[in-house]
């Protein structure tokens, strides 16, 4: 009790004496913990909206699209408990503020079904007394920017316009979010759909199957393929919906997780370094405490409590912040308690281990405070001798000598700066990769900047109009179709564009481009899904027609998780490829897509539907915010290390300052000596960190690209200029920070007998 009281006095006094460093420690640890919790939550299933949406809507597990109302007893398949639909669905275009978005208009009854009933979030469900009402899927409504009561103009395939009114906005678990998942979804009453699209031949029937065991979806969808044969258009399961919903979360989570884990190592190092440096600086005080009657264990405990408490406070703040952010963004229920607890316990243990070693060492201090505790001295390091040889000024020589007199702290300082710098370089690499997406869209499969659909015009007219524009370099006709991969019992996207002899310039990163009919290139996701390698043959069916192609290359494929097969239009059966669905326009260098779009719209009298390609970097722009935040946290860690190093350097010099001055060094030279000592370590750490970062960054991004299906070949290292600026800023900031205490020490009047 008495010891606790006396000890707490000491801890309080010590913390008061180093407020800045203590605050930095807390903030750095808090930042890391917050990043880890955010990462875990994003990676954890709980954040994936699919789970709760499926539960709330009693969602179906398998969805299938047929040309006509299925005549077989799908409900009789083993494992199917209930069915939703079949509902009729017609393709339409939604015209909103000059934009045209593809949508599927679904006929649904006024009484919501038991299975896969959309969950109304705003407004109400369809009502027979208001037949012009429409219920729009949430993400589609958000993307269109419409609310309850807003007019909803649709253009049917016939070109006829109809204006409906938004009556409700609803969640559904049957498809992913718009625009990652197209077309958008809107529900109307059957009578309304009959009026908008009287032609049954232009619509599809959608059926959902709810299974007793969701894991059986693969088997069930295989049964469906066999039973429906060529009447089946496409089929997908809840797994595709779920992974479509998690796309961005996973990427962000991985990024945060990587930074968090490495940052934790860096933070632990910084903590150990700070605690160790502080203990080294306090050996005399600790000895004095021992001479007063503190035991070895009590001193160790004292130090552990003091330095550990800072770390634990950081953990607590970080946990609160991380949880708070996630709860605010995703809702409180989506933060899974187990991983968060595991992170809290884990980081707390790391913190205690990091400060435990210096604490134990502090406890072992001999209790005789008069034994000098200065640095081991007397030898010039090899580096310092070198410095002397090349006739550096004396201050630099002395500083060079000091940099390495204490080996362990010197290593911890350099390493403690190298790790954050490495992560900062990686962050800059991610940034550069995003920039590269924007600067060179053709390297991510976006050679064409505009997509033109004939809409009201004849395809031939559309092609001619597009080709005549002065800024259009090339026009590639194309069609996207869904194909069934028989073994997989699910649909994949087949993109037929250009011709086999005049192919669309896909960014082929492995193998080669297709050169004749029957050859194809594919994204990493498709190769992984079908388990094929370059050179293998792939057999798919497109609307009942077999499509057999040899995969001759891999492209960077940012769409559909990379599960896209690209072929020339001539590889597709004529029924699917004539006329083409759209024309992809490659523009001349320097042309402004918006300008060309405006011209095309005007020139065709609004008869064309012209869409700009969405760059994947635009969708990932939140990553930039995350990178900035992470760089801030990493800079904090680096700063904490630096403060430790310069405090230690100063302490080692407290005894020498008078001597140095007596030797005739000016205050400026004394300052230079002190700054050189830390500066050398800074330069070393920052240099090594940046080099390590550059050497791993492309590999890391490509690895992420590979696992996400986009495929390797997208990673970019930060440009030499960016890197140079980053290194200079880091070194400059570090030197500036080291300069302040050095200046103060050099100016101070030092009594000759300081000890």
């Amino acid at each position: 009790m008495s010891t606790a009281l006396a000890g707490s006095r000491w801890i309080k006094a010590d913390l008061r004496a180093r407020k800045g460093q203590a605050l930095l420690t807390v903030l750095a640890v808090a930042g890391i913990v917050a990043a880890l919790i955010t990462a875990a939550t994003l990676l954890e299933d709980g954040t994936n909206p699919w789970r709760s949406l499926s539960a709330q809507t009693d969602g179906a597990h398998v969805w299938l699209y047929t040309k006509d109302s299925p005549q077989v007893a799908l409900g009789g398949i083993d494992g199917v408990t209930q069915t939703a639909g079949p509902y009729r669905s017609a393709p339409v275009t939604v015209a909103q503020d000059g934009k045209k978005e593809p949508a599927a208009l679904r006929a649904m009854p006024a009484t919501p079904p038991a299975v896969a009933h959309p969950l109304v979030a705003e407004g109400r469900w369809l009502d027979p007394s208001r037949p012009d009402g429409v219920v729009v899927e949430r993400s589609f409504a958000d993307s269109l920017g419409i609310g309850i009561g807003a007019p909803f103009t649709i253009i049917a395939l016939s070109g006829e316009r109809h204006t409906l009114y938004v009556r409700g906005i609803a969640h559904t678990a049957e498809q992913g979010f718009y625009p990652e998942w197209t077309p958008g979804l809107a529900y109307v009453l059957p009578v309304m759909l009959d009026r908008i699209e009287p032609m049954l031949g232009r619509s599809e029937w959608v059926t959902g199957l709810r299974l007793a065991d969701p894991e059986a979806s693969q088997v069930v969808s295989q049964r469906v393929v066999v039973m429906l044969e060529d009447r089946l258009q496409r089929v997908y399961t809840w797994r595709e919906v779920r992974s479509a919903m998690e796309l961005d979360n996973r990427l962000l989570g991985t990024l945060l997780g990587l930074f968090g884990v490495v940052g934790l190592v860096a933070a632990a190092l910084a903590l150990a370094n700070a605690a160790g440096g502080r203990v080294l600086g306090q050996l005399r005080d600790l000895a004095t405490l021992k001479s007063m009657g503190f035991t070895r264990g009590q001193i160790a405990l004292l130090l552990l409590v003091e330095h550990g408490a800072l770390g634990l406070l950081g953990v607590a703040i970080g946990a609160l912040a991380g949880w708070g952010v996630m709860a605010a963004v995703l809702g409180a229920s989506s933060v899974a308690p187990i991983p968060v607890l595991a992170i809290i316990v884990g980081t707390a243990l790391v913190v205690l281990a990091a400060v435990g070693v210096p604490a134990l060492r502090g406890g072992r201090t001999p209790p005789i405070p008069d034994v000098p505790t200065g640095p081991p001295r007397g030898h010039l390091s090899r580096l310092a001798r070198l410095a002397l040889l090349v006739r550096l000024p004396p201050a630099l020589v002395l500083g060079t000598r000091d940099a390495f007199t204490r080996r362990v702290p010197a290593f911890l300082t350099a390493f403690g700066l190298a790790v954050p710098m490495m992560m900062i370089t990686i962050g800059l690499g991610v940034w550069a990769t995003l920039d590269n997406f924007l600067a060179h869209p053709e390297q991510v499969g976006q050679h064409a900047a505009l997509y033109v659909k004939p809409d009201k015009l004849e395809p031939v007219v559309a092609e001619r109009l597009a080709g005549q524009d002065r800024d259009v370099a090339e026009v590639y006709p194309g069609t996207d179709v869904n194909a069934l991969a028989p073994g997989e019992a699910r649909s994949v996207r087949v993109r037929a564009i250009g011709s086999s002899t005049r192919p669309y310039p896909f960014p082929v990163v492995e193998g080669r481009m297709y050169a004749r009919q029957g050859e194809a290139v594919a994204g990493q996701g498709l190769l992984d899904l079908l388990g094929v390698k370059i050179g293998d043959r792939v057999r798919l069916t497109v609307g009942g027609t077999p499509l057999i192609v040899r995969v001759v290359g891999r492209t960077v494929e940012p769409e559909q998780d990379g599960e896209v097969l690209s072929v020339g239009l001539d590889s597709l059966a004529a029924k699917d490829s004539v006329p083409p669905e759209y024309y992809a326009l490659a523009l001349k260098p320097g042309a402004d897509p918006a300008e060309v779009r405006g011209r095309l719209l005007a020139g065709s009298g609004e008869g064309l539907d012209v869409q700009a390609a969405v760059n994947p970097a635009d969708r990932l722009s939140i990553i930039r915010i995350v990178i900035v935040a992470l760089i801030a946290v990493l800079a904090l860690i680096g700063l904490a290390n630096l403060l430790t190093a310069s405090a230690l350097g100063l302490r080692d010099h407290a005894f020498d300052l008078a001597v140095l001055k007596a030797m005739g060094l000016t205050p400026r030279q004394v300052m230079a000596t002190l700054v050189t000592g830390t500066g050398l370590l800074v330069v070393l750490g920052v240099g090594v960190g940046a080099a390590a970062g550059v050497s791993v960054v492309t590999g890391l991004i490509d690895l992420q690209g590979h696992t996400s299906g986009v495929g390797a070949g997208i990673g970019r290292a930060p440009s030499p200029l960016t890197l140079t600026v980053a290194v200079l800023v880091a070194v400059g900031a570090a030197l500036a920070v080291a300069l302040i205490p050095a200046r103060r020490a050099a100016r101070a009047q030092v009594p000759v007998a300081t000890r």
Partner: protein
Amino acid sequence: MSAVVKTVNLVKIYQDGALPVPAVRGVDLQVEPGEFVAVMGPSGSGKSTLIHMLGGLDARTSGEIWLDGQRVDTLSESAWALLRRKKIGFVFQFFNLVANMTVGDNVELPALLAGASPKVARERRESLLAALNLTDRAGAAPAQLSGGEQQRVALARALANEPSLLLADEPTGNLDSRNTRDVLRLLSDVHKQGQTIVMVTHDARVASLADRLVSLFDGEIVDDGRIARRRTRTAGEVIDLR
């Protein structure tokens, strides 16, 4: 009444690499309650080593140490620490105040450690600082004090746990004559109140304040003599007059 501290054939041999360095070679010393013993000797004669062993800061190589009738040389490091809290006060040549704590807290700390309640510790601190004429410096940081003031604080700190033995290693070694006089007056004051003191010094005039002078040479006691009471008083007066 038994001796406050007693050593029997006390030996300390440092190991300097492979070379054994005998610092203390068979010291028999007995200090009675209320005695003020000065230990003198040339540099390197083992004075500091001896006084450190008496306070348990350094482990003896062989021999016995008895404190208040209890054998203590066999104690573990932490048992020594617990013993120091109650029975021993240390004053060092370089003051060794805890730099981050105020003067007041420096004085209060040993009292708290000895088990005094915060209120009692506070009272002791006030009375000690008042006796040392430092009341108005209680809130200052040690670095803001002069050497003499720091040593007075160190003395107050050493007395805060009401030790049965006050050990001082060259308490005036780092002070000018004015400050030396102040500190010595304090030492003799507490001695008059019955405090047992063992003090190492280089300075014969400082040593003359003591009851008894022990001379060390090469780690052995070469002279152990009582200083006449009268002389002590005179010496005290002389110092007072300065």
